[in-house]
Structures are given as structure tokens and as C-alpha cells.
């Protein structure tokens, strides 16, 4: 089945072509496996079922980004981003594309270690949806001073500390775990949820409540050296990974924006005030116009950034265009969902309509994949550096 996805998409598909492919190949799957009970899952903080991701793997979504030699589809990051956008439009649970983006991307990091044993043990089963891995980076300390520590014990390692939030942790069996060593360098380990001393528990959150967000506590977890993925400079590895991924968090936001806009218009059409539908009132039309502008600009910014992500113009450590896109789309999406709540009265504020749930989910962008405030600082520093560097250039005599 995954080959039909590749065939249907073709090479460098247009956004509209990707939309048609998602509609043709995935709508049944969403309606059968993802959409039912999405509201109830949110209310009860119940994670999506692992079956959903096994099925996603059969369709070719989980192995999409992996190379063919390990069972992947050699798909491009641009196309995957466009898929996430459309998936989010068609499926009613934003947790699905959010977790999917994580599960599809982590095996690539394991692959980068260039270890055939790890390919066999982790990457291949992950490409088939038999294992899932998430990213355990954030802890109580900032990255240069992580409080999750590792020390050598003969040919083994002992890990202790707490990783505070992982997307899809409730479904993951493996956690890519960043630890600070005796020299304050960062080592990355593959920690398994069943390793003695590992405790994974749910974290109740504002939104994305079916995304299986967890915390992981490590108490003297003893790991053999083969579980060490990168022995030094894990910090830089994390920055390369995050830079690349920063767009994936907002691809689903753009799909959700379209869903909210359309759903909001349909609803407003049914509300009669002063003898006519709300959509016929100019003040409401203007607000809808503002929502449409937010959606169209966010989409244009996303597509531009996805194109750039594949070009050789990208700065692999911190790309200002990608980061600005993450920042901008998040702000537009939140403002659009907020407007939908304002336009729809008590229904919008309640569970009668899905807008409050989407607004809470979109708030994830304020903090996730680098907090917006921090991105502002980095983007400012970057812009200043560009000017300063130009001033340091030697002029030819």
C-alpha cells in the first residue's frame, strides 16, 4: 500500500496534488480510525491508539522520510510537510499529524549514527510501525546545563534525571534521550520504556490531549554501551534536528486553519440575527476576511519555507526563514482560532463546536519546537549578526 502513496504523489507534487492524494488514499482511514471519539479523547486525555500508527505505517506515512535501503520511501521533507498540512485538514485530531511528524523523523537520527546493529534493531521495525521513538530533550535545566546526567560505570552508563515532556511518549517504546556527561558535553542514548529505573507517566496539558504527552523519570538507569547513539556534541546534533523539524509542527496548523475557517463560515451561515444569516453582515464578513488573510499568508509562508528546506540555501543549524515561518504561522493560527471562538458565541466557547479544542491545540506552538519568545531573540540576534558580519568583511584594496 505504501508504494501506492509514492506512485500517487509522483515527483515534487503541487500542494493541490497532495490534497487530492490525501483525499483519495486516506479519507477512509481518518473516518474509520482517527476521527471517531476525537472530542472524547480530548476530554478524557486519552492518547490515540497505536493501531492508528500501525495503519499509518501501512499507508506509507511512517516510513515516508526514510531511505529505501532501510525500508523507507525516500520521500522529500517538502512533500511530507505538504502531507501533514492536508492530513490535518481532513482528520479531526491534530494530535495525529503531530505524533506522526515525530515518529516519522526520529528514525533518521538513529540512522545518522551509521550503525548496522541499530538499523536492524530500531530503524527497520520503526519503518514498519512495529516500534516508535520520541524525542526526550527538554528537562528542568537549559540545554547547556541539562539536569539529566550520565556517568560511566565500567563499560556501562548510568543515567539519572527527568525529561519533562515528550510528544507521543505514551505510544513510544524508545526515547532519544539527551544527557549531560562529566565534561558537560551531551551524550544521546536510546532509552527503552521497559529499562529498569525508567518511569514514563502522562502529563495533562492545555491542548493536544490525545498526543500522549509524557514525562520520563530516570533513576540510575544502567545502559550498555551499544545504546549510546552519539558520544559527543549531542547539543549540535539536537540543533540540526530541531532546525529541520521546526516546520513540521506548523504544517498541521495550516491545514487546521483551513478547517476552522470553513467550519466557521458554515456555522455562521446557519445563525440568523436581525432576520439574516451572520455571513451577510458586513462586520462579520470583514472578520472572516481577516481570517482568510491569516490562512492564505500562513500557507504561502509555509510553502516558501518548505521549498527552502530542500534548497542548499538553508542554514542547517538555525535557518532564519524556517524559524520565522514557525513563528509567523503559529501566531496566525492562534489568532484565527481565537476569532472563530469570538464569532460563534456560546457554541464556540463550548464543546458544541470544535474551535475551543483547536485553539487549545494550536497554543502548543507557543512553546513547542522552541518557544516563540526565544525564537524572537534568536531571530533578532541573527539579523544583528548579519549586519555586524558585513562590517567585518575585508574590502578589496
Amino acid at each position: 500500500m505504501s508504494q501506492s502513496l509514492v506512485k500517487a504523489l509522483g515527483h515534487q507534487p503541487s500542494p493541490e496534488h497532495v490534497r487530492r492524494v490525501v483525499e483519495e488514499l486516506m479519507l477512509d482511514f481518518f473516518e474509520r480510525d482517527v476521527n471517531p471519539n476525537s472530542m472524547q479523547r480530548d476530554e478524557e486525555c486519552v492518547c490515540l491508539s497505536p493501531r492508528v500508527f500501525e495503519q499509518a505505517a501501512r499507508i506509507g506515512l511512517v516510513n515516508f522520510l526514510l531511505p529505501a535501503e532501510v525500508g523507507g520511501l525516500d520521500g522529500s521533507r517538502r512533500t511530507f510537510g505538504l502531507l501533514l498540512e492536508q492530513i490535518s485538514y481532513y482528520c479531526e485530531d491534530m494530535a495525529f499529524p503531530s505524533i506522526l511528524a515525530m515518529f516519522a523523523d526520529i528514525p533518521n537520527v538513529i540512522l545518522q549514527a551509521g550503525r548496522p546493529d541499530l538499523v536492524e534493531e530500531y530503524v527497520v521495525p520503526m519503518s514498519q510501525g512495529r516500534r516508535f521513538a520520541t524525542f526526550a530533550f527538554t528537562d528542568y535545566g537549559e540545554p547547556l546545563f541539562f539536569e539529566t546526567r550520565v556517568r560511566s560505570a565500567g563499560d556501562k552508563f548510568l543515567l539519572s534525571g527527568e525529561k519533562t515532556l515528550q510528544t507521543g511518549g505514551a505510544l513510544a517504546d524508545t526515547f532519544l534521550t539527551y544527557t549531560r556527561d562529566e565534561n558537560d558535553d551531551i551524550k544521546i542514548f536510546l532509552v527503552e520504556k521497559d529499562d529498569p529505573g525508567v518511569e514514563v507517566s502522562p502529563v495533562p496539558t492545555l491542548g493536544l490531549r490525545s498526543a500522549g504527552l509524557t514525562r520520563m523519570v530516570l533513576t540510575d538507569v544502567e545502559l550498555p554501551s551499544r545504546r549510546l547513539l552519539f558520544g559527543s556534541d549531542g547539543l549540535s546534533q539536537s540543533q540540526l534536528f530541531l532546525n529541520d523539524r521546526r516546520l513540521f509542527i506548523v504544517c498541521p496548523f495550516v491545514g487546521a486553519m483551513k478547517f476552522i475557517l470553513e467550519r466557521c463560515i458554515k456555522h455562521l451561515n446557519t445563525v440568523i440575527r436581525e432576520g439574516k444569516p451572520l455571513t451577510e453582515m458586513q462586520a462579520v464578513q470583514s472578520k472572516i476576511g481577516q481570517m482568510a488573510i491569516r490562512y492564505q499568508t500562513a500557507r504561502a509562508v509555509l510553502h516558501n519555507a518548505l521549498d527552502r528546506a530542500e534548497s542548499n540555501e538553508i542554514n542547517p543549524l538555525f535557518d532564519p526563514v524556517i524559524s520565522a515561518a514557525k513563528y509567523f504561522i503559529t501566531e496566525q493560527a492562534i489568532a484565527l482560532a481565537d476569532r472563530a471562538v469570538r464569532l460563534t458565541g456560546w457554541r464556540g466557547y463550548s464543546k458544541k463546536l470544535p474551535f475551543e479544542r483547536y485553539l487549545r491545540a494550536l497554543m502548543a506552538g507557543v512553546t513547542g519546537q522552541t518557544a516563540q519568545d526565544i525564537l524572537e531573540i534568536h531571530l533578532g540576534v541573527n539579523a544583528i549578526a548579519e549586519i555586524e558580519l558585513a562590517g567585518h568583511k575585508r574590502t578589496e584594496p
Partner: protein, 95 residues
């Protein structure tokens, strides 16, 4: 030559934006710099003594290839002149 700092490393050099060092190779300059600011070493280097990739380095405003400065022997072979500037830009982001 002088080092110029931007971003996350500034706090490790007591927020001195520019630090002048009088030595002939990049490695000697860095060693001197780390003697002056001992906390810098662990933030700048990994446990192999290589400059962490996350620090972007520029010589006189032009990006320097990583291979040229990452390990100590390459840095020793890297000569610097009195009027050179090495700019170090560091953005460390969370997950």
C-alpha cells in the same frame, strides 16, 4: 586578532562582545581566550576537544569551513593576523 561573540556564548565571556588576543594561530588564540575565561571551554568544546558544531564561526565576516577549525591540530595550522576578526555566532534552541 580579536574574537567577537554573538548569542549564547556571551555569558561565558562575561558579556565582553569583543576580546583581543595576541597570538599567531587560531588554536593558540583560543587557548589564551579560555585561560582568560575558564567557563568558556566546556561551552565551546565537546569532550573530544572539537569546537561544537553549533557554534558558527566567521573569519573577517566570511563563514569558515568546519573542517578548518573543529579539531585542535587544524586550528594550530590556521594562522591569524593582527587585524583578523573571528566572529562566533551561537543560537541554542529548545525542543
Amino acid at each position: 586578532m580579536k574574537f567577537v561573540f554573538s548569542g549564547a556564548l556571551l555569558r561565558f565571556v562575561q558579556f565582553e562582545k569583543e576580546v583581543a588576543i595576541d597570538r599567531n594561530t587560531l588554536e593558540d588564540c583560543l587557548r589564551r581566550l579560555m585561560l582568560k575565561f575558564p567557563d568558556l571551554e566546556r561551552a565551546l568544546l565537546d569532550n573530544q576537544g572539537n569546537i561544537r558544531q553549533t557554534h558558527q564561526m566567521f573569519l573577517n565576516g566570511e563563514a569558515i569551513e568546519k573542517g578548518v577549525y573543529s579539531d585542535a591540530s587544524a586550528r594550530q595550522a590556521f594562522s591569524v593576523e593582527d587585524d583578523d576578526s573571528v566572529y562566533i555566532l551561537t543560537a541554542i534552541a529548545g525542543g
